[in-house]
């Protein structure tokens, strides 16, 4: 630990290269991604429009996929299973096809009527999904701006505020890119989770900035950072524990909740990185530049 402290104290500026490279990589990646896919994310049917059908009976996913692929556009099938026995309880069929049509195709295929006893249908029109998507992006932007204003009001100090905002931004950016690299499709719930990351991310950043700027203790800056680090890490780690536990359980039945918790989990890992490298180093640089180096260790 002492070694690490000394290393950090000496080379914190160099360490800033790491987040800088990662942010740059993210931008390049997203640019290329946009060029090839026409958007920053791969959208699932909650954002493109389409139908989700849940059938409450065990069915063979592979044969279904084989037989329905050419009938239903962009077909995707998942399972809902029992948490303990892993036994299949239902299957979820997703397609970009319209609701009534999907129902007809499935009824023809299965040979019986699909009603509210054996199935659920959720249909979203593509025009609505498009507005949803635009509005959610706008909501994130708005949320970000609001958060930035609040941060400025709290610290009334330009550079530390910018450091908080940059690290929150980097957090969302890196999460988004990781999500894409892992090949996940984003849903409305996922975008909401990105928005939520803003809250999770500024939590630790505000803690750090407060400890460093407003503390009257005589400890060295580096020591203060490491004290804050201990608190912040406990915060993020407990959050990770609670998210992982929730994720393991909700994975068995809810696509929506699974997506929310996956995004938050990825985001929390990047939050560690961005708070303690990006934000902490920027802040240390600012304080030392202003007051000179207060003391060694």
């Amino acid at each position: 630990m002492e070694k690490l402290k000394r290393f950090y104290d000496k080379s914190y500026k160099k360490l800033l290269i790491l987040p800088a490279i990662m942010i740059l990589f993210c931008f390049v990646y997203l640019f290329i991604f946009y060029q090839t896919h026409g958007d920053f994310i791969k959208k699932d049917i909650s954002l493109t429009g389409g139908t989700t059908v849940t059938l409450y009976q065990p069915l063979d996913v592979n044969s279904l996929e084989k037989n329905l692929t050419d009938k239903l556009t962009d077909l995707h099938i998942r399972e809902v299973y029992d948490l303990t026995t892993k036994e299949q309880k239902a299957i979820i069929i997703e397609t970009t096809e319209e609701g009534q049509k999907t129902k007809k195709i499935l009824e023809d295929y299965f040979g019986y009527e699909l009603n509210d006893k054996n199935s659920s249908f959720e249909f979203t029109g593509s025009s609505l999904s498009k507005t949803f998507y635009r509005q959610l992006l706008f909501a994130i932007l708005l949320a970000f701006v609001f958060m930035a204003i609040v941060v400025f009001l709290i610290f009334k100090n330009f550079i530390p505020s910018i450091a908080v905002i940059v690290s929150a931004f980097a957090d969302i950016l890196m999460t988004l890119v990781t999500f894409n690299i892992l090949g996940f499709k984003m849903s409305t719930a996922g975008i909401v989770a990105l928005l939520m990351l803003i809250g999770y991310s500024v939590d630790t950043d505000i803690l750090l900035t407060n400890r460093l700027l407003k503390s009257r203790s005589t400890d060295s800056l580096n020591k203060k950072i490491f004290e804050a680090f201990k608190t912040g890490m406990t915060m993020t780690l407990t959050a990770i524990v609670s998210v992982v536990i929730s994720l393991l359980i909700v994975k068995s039945f809810s696509v929506t909740l699974t997506q929310i918790f996956t995004v938050i989990l990825i985001g929390l890992f990047f939050d560690i990185f961005n708070t303690w490298l990006t934000n902490a180093s920027l802040l240390k640089w600012y304080i030392e530049g202003k007051h000179g180096k207060i003391s060694n260790l």
């Binding site: 029109g125 909501a139 536990i245």
Partner: protein, 509 residues
């Protein structure tokens, strides 16, 4: 122990008690016996006898009804029967007597154990989001649309429903319809059809749907019925007919138009040269011959008819009943001023909802316990971990309490919000614990004040970032923002101050 009971801790305890009261009701509903009526079919025998939604049935024919099994046992024993049966149904406040040969037209369920309401995505039901085709609606227009639709669905016999205007971030107006429980098969038709009804002779409109032209629509056994069912080439065809009463104006129009028509001699009798054509949304529903004696006369009584087909006799009959019901509804409520488009339609089965709720509770519990363990490992303090555990639990109970006071339907996004609050809530408690332990130079009061300034900052940053969600996506994700905002506000106002006091005394020891 007494030293822990500061004002802030008392505040937490009081908030907890109030929340438990609002969740379970007073007296707690799990001690209550009986079954709850969730809907009563309009104009049915049950409706006429006075039974209404939300009443609690305690006894039928002096036999105690404890739950839904008791209810179905009695009803299945008695119905269907060949002759009218007397049924005396006793509710909490009154007694109702029914005479009928079929089971009462009501839907009942066990009395819910809590007052917490779950969203459609958990209990099942139908949800539709509707907007006008090629037209931007003003708030006045959307309110009209909502009231017409509400009326229409009520006339159709749906009572357990919610129709509200919703707005989104770009200022679009949409209509949200939510129907709990069983989904009507024709919801799509019923909601999206404009329902423009016109009765024409030649090109002249005699009357249209709605109460301006139509004084009343017959819906009882004497005035509305399925007349006949016949075999046709493919399956069966059933004809329905029902009586309507025209208003004075439209009767006058009918007289004026028919006065100038000539009379045709046909094998069936003498009829006017032109027919009365019935159009629904510009499609011809039926054509009625007008008998000679109506020529130029002021008649207010007119029979409306139509037909429906099906592959079997039963299906044709059922379709005819459905079509008749829909046409009656449209004639009563009138048409919508524009075409509608259903942009989202969800039919959720209630099958797995209960399992989901259990799993969600499990997820919440497991993560609180998991986190408390982490805290214990980190600080090695049983009491601190225990306080944290209690605080997090109380937070969830208070969120649920507030949700049931404001009648908030907890859907999946709302629940995600509650689970997420556990995370942030614990984060803030860790800040308090650590701030209290560090910075030896400061007084305990100073330290905790500092902890609070961090938490307050994070709180405002989170709240403002959630606000846009209240409107984005036509408010379908609102639940997430609502429960999270309630959760973190409860945290900052009630649970966190109490936890701070608890920690203060803990550190003093």
């Amino acid at each position: 122990m007494a030293k822990y009971l500061t004002f802030k801790v008392w505040l937490l305890i009081i908030a907890l008690i109030l929340s438990l009261l609002s969740i379970f009701g007073m007296p707690p509903s799990f001690f209550q016996k009986g079954v709850l009526i969730t809907s009563v079919e309009v104009n049915s025998t049950a409706f006429d006898s006075g039974l209404r939604q939300n009443q609690i049935i305690l006894q039928i024919d002096n036999q105690k009804i404890k739950n839904i099994e008791d209810f179905s046992n009695i009803i299945n024993q008695r119905f269907p029967s060949s002759n009218d049966q007397k049924l005396s149904i006793k509710t909490k406040d009154s007694e109702y007597i029914l005479f009928s040969n079929s089971s009462p037209e009501i839907i009942v369920q066990n009395i819910p154990k809590t007052k917490i309401k779950l969203g459609l995505d958990l209990v099942g039901g139908a949800r539709a989001l509707v907007r006008a085709e090629n037209k931007t609606l003003t708030s006045a227009e959307i309110n009209d649309l909502v009231s017409i639709t509400n009326n229409r669905l009520n006339e159709f016999g749906l009572t357990d429903l919610k129709v509200v205007p919703v707005y989104d971030l770009s200022g679009n107006h949409l209509m949200l319809i939510e129907i709990a429980g069983a989904t009507p098969k024709d919801l799509q038709k019923l909601v999206s059809e404009q329902g423009k009804f016109e009765a024409k002779i030649g090109d002249e409109v005699v009357f249209i749907g709605g109460n301006r032209d139509i004084a009343s629509v017959g819906r009882d056994a004497q005035t509305a019925r399925i007349e006949s069912c016949d075999r046709i080439e493919q399956g069966y065809n059933c004809r329905f007919s029902f009586a309507i009463t025209l208003s004075g104006d439209s009767a006058q129009r009918h007289a004026d138009i028919t006065r100038n028509l000539s009379v045709n001699e046909t094998p069936q009798g003498r009829y006017l040269s032109k027919n009365l054509d019935l159009y629904l949304d510009d499609k011809l529903v039926d054509t009625l011959l007008i008998s000679e004696d109506l020529k130029g006369r002021l008649t207010t009584q007119i029979a409306i008819s139509g037909s429906a087909t099906g592959t079997t006799n039963e299906e044709a009959y059922q379709n005819a009943v459905d079509d008749m019901k829909q046409l009656q509804t449209i004639l009563i409520t009138g048409s919508l001023p524009y075409k509608l488009e259903i942009v989202k339609l969800d039919n959720i089965s209630p099958t797995l909802g209960k399992d989901f709720v259990k799993l969600i509770l499990l997820a919440g519990l497991a993560s609180i316990v998991g986190v408390s363990l982490v805290i214990f490992i980190r600080y090695r303090k049983i009491k601190a971990s225990l306080f944290l555990l209690i605080t997090s639990f109380s937070e969830i109970i208070i969120i649920l309490g507030i949700a049931s006071i404001i009648d908030w339907n907890l859907d999946l996004p709302s629940i995600a919000g509650i689970l997420a609050t556990i995370g942030t809530g614990i984060d803030q408690q860790i800040v308090i614990l650590d701030e209290a332990r560090h910075q030896v130079l400061l007084s305990m009061k100073e330290k905790l004040k500092r902890a609070f300034s961090i938490i307050l900052g994070a709180y405002f940053a989170s709240v403002v970032s959630l606000i846009p969600l209240l409107w984005a996506g036509a408010g379908l994700l609102k639940g997430f923002a609502i429960t999270t905002i309630i959760g973190i506000s409860v945290g900052i106002l009630i649970t966190r101050p109490a936890f701070t006091d608890l920690v203060k005394h803990l550190e003093k020891e």
